[in-house]
Symmetry: none
Subunit: 236 residues, 4 copies
Amino acid sequence: MALKTETERRSWRQDPEAVKRDILAVALSEFAENGLSGARVETIASRTRTSKRMIYYYFTDKLGLYTAALEAAYMKVREGEAALDLGGLPPARALARLVAFTFDHHRRNPDFIRMVMIENIHNAENLVASQVIRDMNVAAIDKLEDICKRGQEDGTFRQGLDPVALHWQISAASFFNVSNRPTFNAIFGPNLFTGTAQADLRRQIVESVLAIALTPPALTEIRAEIAGTAAPGLSG
Amino acid sequence: MALKTETERRSWRQDPEAVKRDILAVALSEFAENGLSGARVETIASRTRTSKRMIYYYFTDKLGLYTAALEAAYMKVREGEAALDLGGLPPARALARLVAFTFDHHRRNPDFIRMVMIENIHNAENLVASQVIRDMNVAAIDKLEDICKRGQEDGTFRQGLDPVALHWQISAASFFNVSNRPTFNAIFGPNLFTGTAQADLRRQIVESVLAIALTPPALTEIRAEIAGTAAPGLSG
Amino acid sequence: MALKTETERRSWRQDPEAVKRDILAVALSEFAENGLSGARVETIASRTRTSKRMIYYYFTDKLGLYTAALEAAYMKVREGEAALDLGGLPPARALARLVAFTFDHHRRNPDFIRMVMIENIHNAENLVASQVIRDMNVAAIDKLEDICKRGQEDGTFRQGLDPVALHWQISAASFFNVSNRPTFNAIFGPNLFTGTAQADLRRQIVESVLAIALTPPALTEIRAEIAGTAAPGLSG
Amino acid sequence: MALKTETERRSWRQDPEAVKRDILAVALSEFAENGLSGARVETIASRTRTSKRMIYYYFTDKLGLYTAALEAAYMKVREGEAALDLGGLPPARALARLVAFTFDHHRRNPDFIRMVMIENIHNAENLVASQVIRDMNVAAIDKLEDICKRGQEDGTFRQGLDPVALHWQISAASFFNVSNRPTFNAIFGPNLFTGTAQADLRRQIVESVLAIALTPPALTEIRAEIAGTAAPGLSG
DNA sequence: AATGAATGAGCCTTCATTCAT
DNA sequence: GATGAATGAAGGCTCATTCAT
């Protein structure tokens, strides 16, 4: 099969990590597109620089490859999140930026969203089995927890706020925006997914989350602030 | 397989509609559980009172059966929604009740949620192909459109409100609450899915949607109202 | 593959039992020749009038086919044994005939011997799992038990004789004669497996078993008898 | 796989014979357990202190390794037999001891028995190909031939006795006792393989062989002898 | 309308073996 | 001598689908 020339092969031989990365990248895209049972090992292999045999050499079986791809998807997204710099922003502004960033980040990573959808179809069985992913996600709301703590200390955030519940709110809107776009689009048309409508949605989500987290006076204040300036952190 | 007595067989013979319903119910549950490629025609047939041949007789092929199951899922859910009686409620209260109802309704119909997830994985290709479903969904926001119109007429709702965008907001939270429960639960634990936490979430979603739709004075007013009474429409 | 004409196919269509028998006969010969892991489903199928797919349709998997073939081998051999008529022979003569018959019967059924060898290599795991075979074998020493009882009643057989132990003696020689012929032949040459040498071996085995079972006087008597007549029942 | 420390490695480095012995021991046990096609080169390698590559380096291919293991099995057993000291025993007693020893020796070497079974399944093809084994086996009945000669010279053994046929008798019982234990046990229960039953079987086999080899008067005599003494050579 | 039998394409996986260093 | 990486051929098995009655 796979007609690969001898020179092509030599170039990446003896670099197992590169081979694994290559396989993983293809696998991620195939699984994201077709699901666990829908993806074909054959197809994955053919899009790879290596052979089907090497997939089994490095990943044991189809499920092993899927799990590795799932982990890779999480890792990639978490790395992107880590790049988010909330600098010395005051809590309210930091939260606003975090929400907007999440909304944009999810839009930029549809493969990750699809992998999570697929995992949910499978009742998160493989995610549960992966200690790697569970560890990563514990750290995922560190930023949010920090913001909440600071906001409560300086009195701008409500007391009794649950960072996990707040994360749920942020995720719900940002995730749904990508995951359910096909059906929503099919039923109600593409209007909501154009540039300006998406910007409106994002603004609304930021608003809603702030309204949940902030005390009324702090909310009034930041609204005035935002209205008075072009929000540089929200562009994306 | 499944040893079915002759008398059992006769009971539903000559009733093609019953046979189709039987097949459809099984198919829905199997597709919802395993996805399109994950579900097995063999398994569906064995859980049916009929044979595999009848599936092909009535539904042509696997995809035909899947599409029919998808339509059945939508139909069942839309029927449930139709039962919602917003009576002569004033717009704000009607909206609050609609949001709460949607949240509860989605929780009660995980199979429907899963079918929609699966459709999204398949880029809504089969939903697009089904005129039946598209028609149903146009009617799905009739209630919401009516509420918006009435709210804008009596001045309690903001101008320039888009019913579809509002529907998006309502759906996002209600859908995500069911669709992503497995992964969310796996990562952050089950706390958010207990009775009281779910009630909190629902209240928050109602709040957020009202905050988006209502004018500030109307919002202040309904908050006072709700605070003063046990909200009877939100139970469930 | 398997170029089988349409007319060929029609002749045995809709006769599932014939198809199963056909598969089973081929499977028995292939497993006996190559062992469980050595046999190829592909090869079995190609020697069959049907396709590989039907093997799985009727026998679930390779192990299922193997077990069925093992059962078939036992069944065939036990049927052959059932044909042995010990009539109203006195115990000593009946025993002599039984031993000689077993020796001959094993020689005539090398496939059965090989299946039992293979089962022993697999620690009799599949035999243990087959209730069918275990039941058959309980009946296998009925004849011998009857002979022993009669012999002890008329005083020609020793007291305290164990039919199972006697069966062991009979089997050991008769089985080994077939099972170990290849290695024995390779090392010591083919002399022992020629017609006259085999006849000598058989006579010796009959002698040995009688010596174990009979009381000294009865043994002396039957030796005289046998010497005086050509043993018609022992030819083979 | 198998994390082996550098120091471990050095200890047997530069000692090719030790490496070969190590491989051979593992191979013997794996082939004996699983047969030729059932054994996995991978598994053998992993149980070894070396790598898979070394197997091919030293033994060319799987069949080469199997043949070497077969030879090793024969060699080990023949060495054990060589240790048997028949001293200056009179022929009848020597024969009795040889039979008893063989019975015990086979019981102690089930791996060897299984290798011979496997060879028979393969029609002794590899044994035939091994000059080493054929030479060894010619010597295997030297002891027996010597006993026969001495017995015929002193008149205690019958004339016209074939040492090979006698070897066949001894082997049949001793071999079958180990080779067919799994199936026999599965069908008739474990009774025959307990300590006392095995002792009975051994005594019976010794008896039978003596009955075949000795002249009637010599037989009577040795029976008296054995009855009068605890047979020291038969313990095991 | 209904059914058990049959089918071919293709899927996941494994095996013994060899290459490059 | 020694090793991890790599390979092609094939092996067991499953899938949606159709045939003959």
